[in-house]
Amino acid sequence: MKTTKTIIAWMEDKPGVLARVASMIRRRNYNVVSLAVAPTETPAISRMTAVLECDASQEKLVGLQLRKLVNVTNVVTDLTPDKAIFRELALIKVNADASKRSEVIHLAEVFRGQVVDVGPQTLTIEATGTQDKIDSLIELLKPFGVREVARTGPVAMLRGTANGRGISGNGRKAEQ
């Protein structure tokens, strides 16, 4: 049985690190649903939020196997909505000529989206939120004709003061 799993990993910002992560994921027969990687508040450390699809029996191992990579400094796997916030950004380009424009803008506003580009035939909406929220916005825009969607995949952060010191080097879960 397959299951999806969201994890956060911190890694040294060195050449080839992402290739190592990807290589591990492929070798262990997991699937990448989305990956978001960018610099962090700490110099030379990047942060990755990954949504992976894996066999349910392997779910516990993903974080440990990532943690084994020498350049991965920390991994947090215990990410449930009560413990973490998830946000994704999407750019959605919708067909909207003059007659439909205000209707589309209204919909975007309901979702706290912003219009970031207006063309004669199209509007491009920037929306952020949970995956669900973006899914439903796209669903509602479909009747107008969605031309293109660019999504970042979710980024995640633990709530409150939890700092994400997840799987320490000895593989035991530290306090979160």
Binding site: M11, E12, P15, G16, A19, R20, S23, M24, R27, K60, L61, L64, Q65, R67, K68, L69, V70, N71, V72, T73, N74, I167, S168, G169, N170, G171, R172
Partner: protein, 563 residues
Amino acid sequence: MKLTGAQIVCEALVREGVDVVFGYPGGAVIKLYDTLIDYPIHHVLVRHEQAAAHAADGYARATGKVGVCIATSGPGATNLVTGIATAYMDSSPIVAITGQVPTNLLGRDAFQEVDITGITMPITKHSYLVTDVRELPHIMKEAFYIARSGRPGPVLIDIPKDVQAAETEFDYPDEIELPGYEPPLEGDPQLIQRMADMINAAERPLILAGHGVILSEAEEELLALAERGNFPVATTLLGISAIPETHRLALGMVGMHGWKHANQAIQRCDLLIVLGARFSDRVTGKISTFAPDAKIIHVDIDPAEIGKNVEPDLAVVGDVKRVLRALIPLVQPRLCVEWITDLLRSKQQYQDPQAFQPKNGRLTSPMVIREIWRATGGQAIMVSDVGQNQMWEAQYYFHDRRRGLITSGGLGTMGFAVPAAMGVQAAYPDATVWATVGDGGFQMTIQELATIVQEKYPIKIAILNNGYLGMVRQWQQFFFERRYAFTPISSPDYLKLAEAYGIPAKRVSDPADLRSSVEEAMRIPGPVVLEFLVEREDNVYPMVPAGASISEMIERHMVEEGA
């Protein structure tokens, strides 16, 4: 002091205590070789880079130190791949150094450019592509540290030509800065207490020792634990020699070709204490029926091994030696009389008596192995290849010497034995080293006879010539209605071949000549090739078919009439 990249590599090798490297030169390492020759490091010129990696691996397994191999870019580097994968699967610490095209040509498909760090990513513990000579000192330091610490493994360092020539101030770091790398060593004391409680409460405890016991040099602790509670000790293939095999409590190998009593012990125990092993499919058979009555304790240094194949009832992450040291005082001394007497009784039937009977007057491989055991008093360093010969070696030689068996377990690499034996002999010039190989595997790295001669390694090579890729033939016999599809294999005249290399050789087919031939080989100071013409269609028993429960063993009497 300013040094070139090549000098930095050599300086680092010296500082890491490397006295021998195995390699093969080429355009992309010519600068390194030009420098290496001035250093007090012996370079062994192999005849194929695969052998350099296996030799480094053999050296590492025999000593616990890091083995080093060197190859040029492109084909030299790719030739290392099988050897690196072999070391990776068996957690063997090697550092592989490859030459690379100059940095300004990287990514341009230059002559003999290959992305070796990319190719080896899934089969290395870590790797480096050095693009700046100033990084070289700490990369060298890190590479050796990563290779040997925690769960050991191969590390590859790819060094472009221009980086070998470039100069920088040399300062070998004392400290290592690896924020993401901290191997767990000490086990959690609370978990160790629970482990002791479970052991003290068990009626039929069994220890299963894996390679981790040897890698962490926990042989003494293992023995102390076993003797304290009178606990029987079974081993995996790579765990062989974790306990002297003639020890009263040693049950021998488990798994697909494990001993019947050892597999039965797993199936009957109520507590299985697994030390530094990874529940390979060759050990567990069908997982749902593995150790059905047992609670399982898993001790391993690699947290990602816990629950990978078998979910333990208790896991202690840590170095086996340290965990055992903390554990032993907590374990109640006792005798487990019933359990152990029962097991030791079935161990009496340890050997398959039929395996020693000449068949149609012909030699059998078990007879040969047992004779080598007798002649070496169980104290040789045995280096075995892959196939039936490997299983017979594991079954019929009782390894009493620490690190007394070197074999490719996880990858099962044919052609491993002869080059790995070179690495072993390089580490221990005076040790008795035997390589036992099949006629198939021997022909895979046969070219290394020249290296053996050049290096004057006194390795004794025993070829168990059955005229078949025997292990595959055995599967064909059992599971493919004896259709021997492409498994008969011919051999050259090994006597002439050995003569061409200048190695004394003898062919043995009569069981009556066995003892004198082995003893004669032992008396010859240099290398010897012994070709044993053994029974062609003999099988390794018992056998657990792939995917079956380890309770379901095929035994000789089920297959052969009159046996």
